[in-house]
């Protein structure tokens, strides 16, 4: 089985990299891009039967820094 973890900066935490991407899109002539937030996607290959709770624990302990980041887990 696989899990896909999305890690994003929490709302309210300024994302300087996203801001730089937004500026670059504007410079390329793409109008109406009001905001860009940049995060990361982590794909995990897991032993069958791994629970969502275990993946959440991985996120809390390592994959996300919950001081500044939030995460979501997709299992499939």
């Amino acid at each position: 089985m696989k899990a896909r973890v999305h890690v994003m900066l929490k709302n309210g935490v300024l994302d300087p990299q996203g801001e730089a991407v937004r500026h670059a899109l504007g410079a390329l002539g793409f109008e109406g891009v009001d905001g860009v937030r940049q995060g990361k996607v982590i794909e995990l290959e897991l032993a069958d039967g791994t629970s969502e709770a275990q993946v959440n624990k991985m996120c809390e302990k390592l994959l996300a820094n919950t001081v500044i980041e939030s995460y979501t887990v997709e299992l499939n």
Partner: protein, 222 residues
Amino acid sequence: MRAAVITFPGSNCDRDLAVGLELAGAEVTRVWHKDVTLPEGIDLVGIPGGFSYGDYLRCGAIAANSPICAAVKTHAEKGGYVFGVCNGFQVLTETRLLPGALMRNAGLKYICKTVGLEVAACESNFLNNYEVGQTIQVPIAHHEGNYTATPDELDRLVGEGRVAFRYTDNPNGSDRDIAGITSANGRVLGMMPHPERAMEDAHGSADGARLFAGLIGAMASA
């Protein structure tokens, strides 16, 4: 005073930190990241600057979960001294020995230059040889030094006198100009600037040497 300086794969200021401590009179043992215990009788653990584990995932995140860091946490919880510089500060926030996080610099650029730091009103033996309010000159060299914490956490740090150093001209977007903070007991200090690179006049500033001398002097008289 006995100190241990940790080397992670990718550390590059470990020797500088060891030499800085030795110049101030400490007996320094070098410790490898795979070690599971610190040498007996260690007073201070130094966590150096660099790019531990290639800064993979987040700066300091892998190091914070390395074998030696479990021993560092135990050392700190028992009231031991810990000093993290630059990547070492990032490691200390990732271990949660210090609150907050260090994000990409607001200007997105790696910054390498000497900056002014104001010594804040902070009760810590690390600041023993400085006067509150004085400005010292210490180099920074980082890409992720933008200190961030929740407004409540920032109020707490300021209110409890745990801000050790403030930038006089904020180079990286850090909240409240914070360049370094301590734990509640004042014995864990994390800072982005590199005092070990300001040890003698030939370095452009000798202001960093006083941090090491101050700590070691305070511990010798304790």
